[in-house]
Every structure is written in structure tokens, then in C-alpha cells.
Amino acid sequence: MKTLTAVAIQNNKKNKTRSILIIIAIVLTTILLTIIANYCYGIIKNNREHAGDYYGVYHGMYRSISQEQIEQMELRSEFSKIGRMAYAGEIESERNMALYWVDTVTMQMMNMENLLEKGTMPEKTDEIIANRSFFEQLGIENPQVGDEVTLYSRIDNKSKFSKNKFKISGIIQEQNTQLEQKSYIGYVSQKFYNDQTEEDTRYYNVYFQLNDAVKINYDNAEQFIQELGKKCGIDEKQTIINSYYIMWSTDPGIETIVGGSILILGVVVFSSVVIYNIFQVGIVQKIQEYGKIKALGATKKQLKKIVQTEGIILAFIGVPIGLLLGCIIGNLTFAWIMEQAKMVDSKLEGTTNIVSIPILFIVIIIAFITVRLALEKPMRMVAKASPVEAIRFEGNKNQSVRKGHRHVSVKEMTMANISANKKRTVGTILTMGLSCVLFVVIANFVGNMDAEYSARQNIEYGQIMIDLDYSLSDEAYPENNLDSILKEDPLGEDTIQQIETIDGVTDIRVRKQLAMKTMNEEGKPSDEIFSVMVLNREDFEKYRKDSGIVGDFTYDTVAEENGIIYGYSYFMEDHDYFIGQNLDMRLENGASSCDYNGTIQGAFGNVGSEWVITEETYKQLGLKEGGNGQIWVDCKEEDVESVKEQLEDILLVKDHVEINTYADELQASQLSMKMMRLMCYVLVMIVGLIGFINMANTMIISIITRRREFGMLQAIGMTNSQLNQMLQTEGFLFTIGTVFVSMLIGVPIGYGLFQYGKEHSWMGLYQYHLPWMEIIGMVIVIGILQTILSFILSRNIRKESVISRIQY
């Protein structure tokens, strides 16, 4: 075996160019594999971490349960963590303000410890923590730790408000910079809570984490948690599951893994073809040498072993380099992306380390598999090598005559060369072209992302949008649900009148939003809430022109039959809705309610509300005035800031509203598109590089093998500049062919991807245009690389005297 390894090492050393090219190809492949794997890992890891950040690290909560029930829970091994939270009273205020006590376990589960900006958690009876807006509501401007607060609170509706003095022991971060403050909550100590309540009247909301050994998934979690509750004497009505957390934490990231695996498979196939190509061309050239080794007595198996060792040695050099570079590039770009993402969403805690040792091991294995796959055919070929075989790499064995030209010069010579080596030419153009196909496809997608369109999808009119910030299923805080908010009517007539008085406001548009409830068997509305948007003719038709429409309907057909349209066609089937289905519902606009009976006529692609009815239908419902869901305010661009400030002043006293400006929205979508582009182009560039390595190899090999021919041509009078010209023309033709192939295949696929993406409302895909700029850029890059390569190669070849080349 040692001899074989030695031969393999010598072969690698002797074919230096080939070895270097293969190492580069392996390095690039490994970089690509590492980046893809690390990104997938990073995304999954981030999603899990953020699931906790956003929704709290707990599986569920049992509402108002007693100390005995908690003790029951503590006996069960299914719970790994149990934390308590208790209602410590309502504060006298125009707003929803309340006091709660939470224990440290709950604080951890709700990420409150991380949110503590200054100070410490409340321990003494008179200590309190809350965010700034809470204290501001109590009339304390610029609250500081140590400041005193006086408030009036009561433990239940039966009691009277009593005066309480507190000292601020800590300040919690504002969770959102927007005005969407949902409820104002102050957190007090257990001592305060105990002082307020009798022992037998103490009820707790208990947050819990389940043991890792408990196998739950998104589908069975609710039932499991309800049954677990029953075992502790807790009614299922008291059970609330943290479905978002369960969804993210139990989701292994299948979509990401599938996407990543497809990419990796693509890379493996592509790279192994490239590495195979480099090997193959080199081996055809050296087949005689392998023949000699065979003549000396090597068996087929030994010959295969030599080739395999050659490849594996190169992989041993290339894979670690690629792994290192891949980790560096992957981490840097991922960190940058997270950095950018934080600018958009301040709550994101970025994971910067996306390297996982087990995943790197998998990458190593895949990289080696790629190399081994590439070696398969060369190995078989070498094994077949006959000791006396003398194969000339070139040569047109099948052709015996050629029509030819009467006059022959550089141009004719080049064309003759290309047509004589059709297979090689087509092979190179195809591999080079296919790597550019990916670029063209991605350019078709990335180049068509329209930030303005994307921003306008969110802010449909004007410069500023005010809309309701509502939930549909908040059981813990039902006041956050749409039906309750509509009753408050924060965007009602008085608000609109106030907005009209703002200087600089040029136009106001209002859209109605209703809450829809299903009817139970007794004919009463259930707790299940849906949002319903009321669209006028103009908006309705605008949405109808977007893609992803299901069903055949117009504003008029829907208005005539008082029909209803589903808001997200993609999810229609998931929710068991179908066209022609009759809905029997109750509609509420806060001011009044009515029964509604209508037929589903179809679905929009994506409108941001579950259901849509027409303005005509709304009028016929005969509801009292109310139910304003969205307000768009237009003004001159230079007035946006001042108008927004005044709007914020007006809305300061309103709960559950949020303000967004078109400018912010535009900036956010530009930023996310920038990130998307970076990710896409990093991958494409590396794929392109691998493709280029392949092209470089083909050119180098073709020049090396034709060294003699070039010598002959020079001996009979070809000058250096003519030789150069010939190689440049050849390269130019490769470039043209490459571009042609990539356009021919890439543009249709890219267009298909665009259409698919548009239907699925991917980021800002609206109007298709051929990504000329990107394609021209690609052509220039290929052209430049090609020219440089031809130049270097022809210079390199000239170093040798003509005669030594002929005698080669």
C-alpha cells in the first residue's frame, strides 16, 4: 500500500496544475457546503432562541389555580419548571393599569430578567418595577431608580382604591418603540401581594416548562397539557398553551433543513462534476503512464487505489482550508445580516456563533463523498487502461474528411479547432453555462425585488398609516382582542377629526375592520374571532389584480350576493374553506353587531386580514357607525416627521394603535432586500468560482495538450500575437456560448421562479423585468476572467522555445 500512496503523491506533484485546480475546487466546494450548513443551523438556532425571546420560554400556563393545585403540579415529573404570577390589583387610571407579582422562575421564563434595564427586582413590600410608560402614566416624567411613586389600587371590584406608596427598584426596557402599549403593568414584590390578599383567596397564574423527556409536538401539545392539568385538578378552560413557543421549539426546522439539503445536493452534484472533469481530462492525458504501471504488474484494484489516493490526498488539503474559510465567511456574513436585522427589529438578540462541531463533521463527510463521487469514473477508466494503449487526448477519430476553406488564417484555425473538439467545447460551455444559470435565476429573483412595491403593500396610501394592533386569540388578556378593541374604537370619528386639524395633512383615508365570530350550536357567538376587512371598489379591484387569486369573482359579483372572500389563498385548504361554502357568522364593529350569512366566492393572494367583504355588503348590514380599522394620512414628504409627531400626541391616550410611516417601511424593505441580495450573491459567486475553475481547467488542459500543436503552428510561421489572438478568440467563443446557455436556461427558470414567488407573496415581487444589469455584469466578469486566463496561459506557453514544445 505504501508504494501506491507514494505513486499517488508523485502523480499529484507531477500534475501540479491539475492538483492545484482540484484543491481550489475542493476548497470552494467545502466553503459552499460549510456556509449553507452553518446558515441553516444559524437560522434554526436563531428561530428557537427568538421563539423564547418573543413568546417566552414556557410551554403553557394554568390560569387562576390554587396553592393546592400548584402542589399537585410540583409532584409531577412532567414539569421541569413551575413559576407563579399573581394579580396584585387594579390601578385607578383612565387606562388599563394593573399590578402583578411574579416569582423569579416566571421572570426567567418570560425573559423579564433580560429586560431589566436598571436596578433590581422588587423584594420589599414597597418596591415596584415597570417600564417608563407605566410611570409616565402615573405622572412621573423621566422615572429613575429610587424615585417614589404613589398610586391607588384595589385587589378586586368589591374593594375600594387605597393609596400605596412605592419606591422604583428597577426599570424595564420598553418592549416596543411604537405606541402600541397594550396594557400598563407594574410588578410588585411577593410581600406586597401577600399583604393585599388572604391566604385562602390567593390564586395564581402558573407558567410551566415541560421536561425534555416529555415528547410533545405542535399537534398534540394542547391536549397533552390539558390532560396533564386535569391530573392536577385543573380544568381545561384554565389551560392556555404558548402555541408559538411550542411551534418553534418543537419544529426541527424542516423547511430550512429541506431547503439546505436541496442546495447541498445541488452543490455536491455540481462540484463532483467539476472535480471529475478536472481529473478526467488529466487522466486521459496520462493514461499511458497508468498503462505502464499496469504493465509492471499493478492490478486493477491497485490502479483504482492510486487514483482514489490521489483524490483523497487533495481532499485532505482542500477540505480543512475550505472548512476554515467557510466558517469565517459564513460567520461574518451571518453576523452582518443579524446586525442589519437588529436595526429593523430592536428586540432581536443575534446569535453570532453559527458554528456547530457535529455539523462541521457532516460537512467534512459530504465534502469527501463529493470527491469520492468525482473519482468514480476516472478510477474505472484507469483500471481499464491497457498497457500498450496510446490515446491521444485530441484527435477526431470519427471524422476523415473536412470541407475546409481555401484560405486559412487565425480565424479559420480557431474555428477548425473548436469544431474538431466539439465534445470538449460543448462540455466546457455547458458546465460554465450551467453555473451561470444559477446566477441568472437568482438575478431574476433578486433583481426583481421591488422595495417600493413591498413598502406600498404595507402602507397602501399616503405617508403614514395608523392601524389597530390586535390579537385574535389572547386568552390571558382578552382586552387585546379585536372585538374588545373595536368597542374602545380608538380610531373613531373624534380621532379623525383631530387628525384633520393637523397642519400639513392633505388627505385621510379610512378602512373599516370588523370582528367576526362563529356561532355555536346554541346560536350564540363563540370565542373564536376572525378579522374582516371592508374593501371599497378601488381597493378590491387592486387586490384582485394581484396574483394568487382563487375563484372567479369581481367586486360586483361579490357585492350582489353579499359574498365573502378569504384573505390568504395559500392557507385556504389548510383551514378547510372552499368556494361555495356557506358561512353563518356574527359580525361586530364595536358599536353594534349583526348576523351575517354569506357564501365564500374565492380568495385573495394576501390581504392582511382573514376575510374581506365589500363596502356594499357592509352598508347593508346596517351596523352603527364604528369599526375604523386603518387610517392613512397623506402629507408632503417634508412634513412627515412633524405630522407623525402630532399624530403620536393625539394617539398617546389611545391603546392598541400603531403608527407606521412609508419612509420607515421603505427603509426596512430596502434593508431586508439588501440582506437577501448579499446572501444570494455570496452563494452564487462561490458557485460561479467553481464553474470558473472548471473552465480554467479545460482551457489549461486544452492548451497544455496542444502545446505541441502550437509549437508546430509557430514553427510554420504563427507569431506570438497570432497565437494570443487565437486563444482569445477561443475564450471569447466560450464566453458567448456560456452566456447563451445561461440565458437560454436561466431566464425561463428565473421567470418561473419569479411567478411562483409572486403568487406566494415573496418579498416585493411585483413587475417582471429582465435583470439586464446583473446579466451584463456577469458577462463582463466572465469576459475579463476569460481574457486574463487566455493571456496568462499564452504567456506561460511562450516561455518555452518553439522546438522544445514540438519535441514535447
Binding site: E394, G395, R402, N417, G717, M718, T719, S801, I803
Partner: protein, 222 residues
């Protein structure tokens, strides 16, 4: 008669130290126009190196070569390439035809590279003389050795060079074909008034030459 080719103290050394080889040592030659000169010598005696230097394919270590009083190695590389394709025709032992183009294209290629128009009457005359008129569309690989060498000779003559340098043109041919090829070569150069310098091992060929130069260990001995 005019001297068409002259060398002065021509030397070629390969390698250094222990590996130093004096391939050609102080060769002074003078060849007249229209002369048929053969160079003979043992394998490794330096005759090929000498011929390659005479044709500008290889650089001498020292000394000069004059073709019609023009110093070949004082020209720039590009100039020398142009000069070579106009003044010198080569015939190699291994034929050295370009595999991707047909016989006619091989023959006219040097003229095309020089940017000249092909004198078709002249080229067709050569082709007829050499008896390859039926093979013009064939690719070189489909021809026999003798046929390939005829194509190479046609190529050397077609661009109307002053000198034809032939490096063992019959080395790969059987004796019958070999006689034919030499006969054709001699006839052609006579017909078109060219000078022929040929390396050979073959005593018979050497005997039909106007002059024979013998080389031993890189030195002209006779």
C-alpha cells in the same frame, strides 16, 4: 553564387555543472543559394540542434546566424517569426501537421498566417507534383506516413521560402517511400529554385546531395 546562409562561431550549451552539454560548438558554415546540403552524424551529435538554430526555432548560446546578411537573432521575436515564415520552410521527421484542418488547409496555412493571398495555381502545381491531389479534403490522421510527409513538403514549399530545412524527413518512412519523398523534395527545390538543408542517417540520400556536412560531438568535422 550567393551565400544564402552563414553561421559564425555558433554554440549551444544545455544544462550547467556536471550536466553541461555542448550540443553545438563553434560551428562556422556557409551555404550557397540553390545548394542541397545534407547534415549527417550520430544520434546526439548535435545535428538537430544545429538545424533548429538555423531555422530560428532555438536560440544559440553564442554566435550568429545570417540569412541573406540578416542576423536572425538580432531580430525581435515577432520579427523573427514573420521572417521565418517568409524565408524558411520546415519539414520534420514527425510531419507535424495540424490535426484539426484538412490537407489543403495545412498546406496554405503559413501563407494565410502571413496575411498573403494563396497563389492557387502554384500550390496546385506543387500538389500535383507531389501526387496528393486526391487527398486535399482529408484530415492528416487519415493519411499514410508517406502521404503525410508529402503534405508537409508541400506546406514547406508553398509559401515560396528561400531555404527548406528538413529534419530526417524520411526517418518515419519505409525505404521505398523514403526514396520517393527525397526524390520529390529534391525535384521540388530544383524546380522552384530553393536551398535544401537536410539531416539524414541515410548514406544513399547523403550521396545524392551537393554537399554533406558531418557533425561529431557538436563540431563540424568535415
Amino acid at each position: 553564387m550567393d551565400t544564402i546562409l552563414k553561421t559564425e562561431h555558433l554554440c549551444k550549451i544545455y544544462g550547467t555543472g556536471n550536466n553541461l552539454v555542448n550540443a553545438v560548438q563553434d560551428v562556422n558554415l556557409s551555404i550557397e543559394q540553390g545548394e542541397f546540403v545534407t547534415i549527417v552524424g550520430k544520434s546526439g551529435s548535435g545535428k538537430s540542434t544545429l538545424l533548429h538554430m538555423l531555422g530560428g526555432l532555438d536560440h544559440p548560446t553564442s554566435g550568429s546566424i545570417f540569412i541573406r546578411d540578416q542576423n536572425l537573432f538580432q531580430m525581435k521575436e515577432e520579427e523573427r517569426a514573420v521572417f521565418r515564415r517568409r524565408k524558411i520552410g520546415f519539414v520534420f521527421q514527425a510531419f507535424n501537421l495540424i490535426s484539426s484542418i484538412n490537407v489543403w488547409e495545412n498546406i496554405v496555412l503559413p501563407i494565410g498566417l502571413d496575411g498573403r493571398q494563396v497563389d492557387e495555381v502554384f500550390v496546385e502545381d506543387i500538389i500535383k507534383t507531389l501526387g496528393i491531389e486526391n487527398k486535399l479534403h482529408n484530415l492528416p490522421n487519415t493519411l499514410s506516413g508517406g502521404q503525410q510527409q508529402r503534405v508537409a513538403i508541400a506546406r514547406a514549399i508553398a509559401s515560396k521560402p528561400d531555404i527548406i530545412l528538413a529534419d530526417e524527413p524520411t526517418g518515419n518512412l519505409d525505404s521505398k517511400t523514403s526514396d520517393e519523398v527525397v526524390g520529390l523534395l529534391k525535384m521540388s527545390v530544383q524546380k522552384y529554385g530553393q536551398t535544401l538543408i537536410m539531416i539524414t542517417h541515410d548514406e544513399d540520400i547523403a550521396q545524392i546531395a551537393d554537399r554533406t556536412i558531418v557533425i561529431e560531438d557538436g563540431k563540424v568535422v568535415r
